[in-house]
């Protein structure tokens, strides 16, 4: 099972050579900042997303059966803060436009520029960190407001 202290990255592509390459590169450059796993079958990715701890998703857009678009929607529904980077063979596809409208954070055209991918993942980690910080602050303010309200009720 994966650690919960670091964001968890799920990489999905139906070409194993792409998975191996991305995992190798990201483990080397960002391996101390996140945990990661890769799956070749989109159905396995659905099952993995449904466990609820995926916060970063890199997925191929054009896969047979379940598409990257399906995974994007599933991940955002499960956890709205999930950062999604799409890999696509073409910028002309309608599905890429749909994906961006549905909240994909970035995309890369294959063959993947590995330095660019590192940069995009790094930026995604920063956005995720800011999102979590904002959530913590919101919850802290809410708890403070509840305490003040409770005190005012107990000591009118």
């Amino acid at each position: 099972m994966t650690s919960t202290s670091f964001p968890h990255l799920l990489i999905v592509d139906d070409d194993i050579s792409i998975l191996q390459l991305i995992e190798k590169v990201l483990k080397k450059s960002l391996g101390t900042e996140l945990t990661m796993e890769s799956v070749i079958a989109p159905s396995d990715a659905i099952a993995r997303i449904d466990q609820g701890d995926v916060e970063l998703l890199i997925t191929d857009l054009d896969m047979p059966g379940i598409s990257g678009l399906d995974l994007l929607q599933r991940a955002k529904k499960q956890k709205p803060c999930t950062q999604v980077i799409l890999l696509t063979g073409s910028t002309n596809s309608d599905s890429l436009l749909n994906a961006l409208e549905l909240g994909a954070n970035d995309y890369l055209v294959k063959p993947v520029d590995l330095q660019m991918l590192e940069q995009l993942v790094s930026e995604a980690l920063q956005r995720l960190s800011r999102w979590k910080q904002a959530l913590r602050e919101t919850w802290a303010k809410k708890r403070m407001a509840e305490r003040i309200l409770l005190q005012s009720v107990q000591n009118p």
């Binding site: 139906d14 050579s17 792409i18 190798k24 054009d62 047979p64 063959p111 993947v112 590995l114």
Partner: protein, 104 residues
């Protein structure tokens, strides 16, 4: 199916210690991929051949084989446009010849 002798094609990443092992693994899987490609051509299974070309286009350059990605892209485009049979076969054979020539 392959007719031409092509000089060995080496990965531009072969001497990079971070990638050498991965490149070797990628190259070791190529004979199986070529076999699949030949079957798709023989059976004129164009959808599978297009998918094959799409995958090779997406991976080869990342492993240091830019020339292969370029040819695979041509094949994918030719299949998408439903160009004539001779043209498809010509590009497919070119891809097979070049894939067969890659070395780690």
């Amino acid at each position: 199916m392959t007719n031409r002798d092509i000089a060995p094609i080496y990965s531009t990443l072969a001497t990079d210690p971070d990638f050498a092992e991965l490149v070797t693994e990628y190259v070791s899987e190529i004979p199986d991929r070529v076999h699949s490609c030949v079957e798709f051509v023989k059976t004129q299974n164009w959808p599978e051949l297009k998918r094959f070309a799409h995958q090779i286009k997406g991976s080869a350059a990342s492993y240091g084989f830019e020339q292969i990605t370029a040819i695979a892209g041509l094949l994918e485009a030719a299949l998408a446009k439903e160009t004539d049979l001779d043209q498809r076969l010509k590009i497919a054979e070119d891809l097979i010849d070049n894939l067969s020539a890659i070395r780690s």
